[in-house]
Symmetry: C2
C-alpha cells in the first residue's frame, strides 16, 4: 500500500466493477482490459454478493492488478479489503465512518468518500480520507438512488465547497460516459468514476482508451498539465 498523503490517488479514470453490471462476463477479465486501456483506479462493488464471494473475487482482482500500479479499492466492506489485501475502501455516507475505517486499515490505505451535498463537502475537512467522489451527477441505471441527479450545476457547487474544505483529489460519479465526460472534467473535477460506460461496453479496453483520452485532453486544455 502506498502512502496516500505522499502519492495522491489518480482519479482520472476510476473503473467500478460490479458483477451485476458486466453483461455476464468475467469481472477479472474486464478489469484487465480496462486497465490496459488506461483505467487509473479500480473499485470492486458488490452489494448482492456474500462475504465468501467478495473475498475470493477481491483477491482475484488484486492478483490481476499485480504490477500494474493501479490500486484496488473495495466498496463499503473494510473486512473484505483487509482479507484480500486490497489498497483501501470507498465509503458512502451511510457506510462505516471514515475514522473507524482509518483505524482498521491504518495510515497507508486509500479511503474515499462519496459526497452528495454541500454539508457533506464541508465535513470533508475533518475526514481522514484520500479522495472524494461527487455524485450522482446524472441519472444512472447502476444504482437505485432516491435523490434526483445534481447535474453539472450541482457538481460545480459541491466541488467549490469541497475545494475549500479539502486538498485531496475529487472525482465525479453517476451516468458519466463518453458523451458527457468532457463537460464533467471541464467542471473542475480530477477524474470520472464509471461503471456501465466501461464494463457494459462491448470492448472495455477500447472504451477505457477513449474515456481516458477525453479526460487527459480536457485536463490539459483546462491547464492542469500546463
Amino acid at each position: 500500500m502506498r502512502e496516500s498523503l505522499i502519492n495522491p490517488i489518480d482519479l482520472r479514470l476510476y473503473g467500478i466493477i460490479d458483477p451485476e453490471r458486466t453483461g455476464g462476463r468475467d469481472p477479472v477479465e474486464l478489469v484487465r482490459q480496462a486497465v490496459s486501456g488506461g483505467a487509473t483506479l479500480i473499485q470492486y462493488r458488490d452489494k448482492q454478493g456474500e462475504g465468501r464471494r467478495l473475498v475470493e473475487l477481491a483477491r482475484a482482482l488484486k492478483a490481476a492488478l499485480e504490477g500494474s500500479g493501479v490500486p484496488l479499492l473495495i466498496n463499503d466492506r473494510v473486512d473484505i479489503a483487509l482479507a484480500a489485501g486490497a489498497d483501501g475502501v470507498h465509503l458512502g455516507q451511510d457506510d462505516m465512518h471514515p475514522k473507524d475505517a482509518r483505524d482498521l486499515l491504518g495510515p497507508h490505505a486509500f479511503i474515499g468518500l462519496t459526497l452528495k451535498t454541500l454539508e457533506q463537502a464541508e465535513r470533508m475537512a475533518s475526514m481522514p480520507v484520500g479522495y472524494a467522489c461527487i455524485g450522482g451527477v446524472f441519472a444512472t441505471g447502476s444504482k437505485n438512488s432516491p435523490a434526483p441527479p445534481i447535474g453539472l450545476d450541482g457538481l460545480g457547487k459541491i466541488l467549490s465547497r469541497a475545494r475549500l474544505a479539502y486538498r485531496g483529489p475529487v472525482g465525479a460519479i453517476a451516468g458519466i460516459d463518453a458523451s458527457n465526460a468532457q463537460a464533467v472534467i471541464a467542471a473542475g473535477v480530477d477524474g470520472i468514476a464509471v461503471i456501465s460506460a466501461l464494463f457494459m461496453a462491448t470492448d472495455p479496453r477500447a472504451e477505457a482508451r477513449r474515456l481516458r483520452g477525453i479526460v487527459d485532453q480536457t485536463l490539459t486544455s483546462r491547464g492542469d498539465f500546463a
Copy 2:
C-alpha cells in the same frame, strides 16, 4: 475478549437481536432485559442496516453488556466486530471463510459457524471456530431460507457428525421457542439460539427466564450437570 479454547462459549440461551424483529422496540433495552433474564450470549444480526448504523448499534450493545460477562458477537461483518470491539462473529456458510475471519480477529475472538448439512459438519474438523449452530431446525419467519427445515431428526444426524469432527459446543437454531426447547436440548445440543421467541416476546426478561429454565432443566436431566 476471552480465550475461546480455554473458556468455551456458553450457548445455553443464545439471543439474536435483529432490529427488524423487535416489534419496533429499542434493541439495546431488549438485550438488557434478555441478559437479566438469563441469556448467555448475544448476537447482533442486521442484514438491512448500513455500516454506520451497524457500528453505532454494535457499540451500544457492547456497552450495555459491560460487566455482564455475556459476549457480543456480530453476524457476518468482521469489520463491524473490529470497529465496535465486539467479542467475535457468527458466520454463515456463504460469509467470509472462518480462517480469514480468524486471521483478522486474532486467536482470542469467538467465531461461530452455522451448519446445515452433514458435509458442513464434517468440515468442522478443519475450521478455527469456537462453536457451531445447527439449523434450520424448524420453520421460521425470521429468515428467508430456501431449504426445508431439518427437524429434530435432521438435527440429531448433523449433531452426531459434528461431534465426531469437532469438540466445541454445538447449538441449534430456527423456530425454537418454549414449546419445543426441551425436545431440542434433549436431542443433544448445548443450547438454543432464539430470535423472535425472545425479542418479539411481550416481556423478554420473563421469556429469557422461562427458556433458560427449560434449557438448564433439560441439560440436568440429560446428565450434563450430573
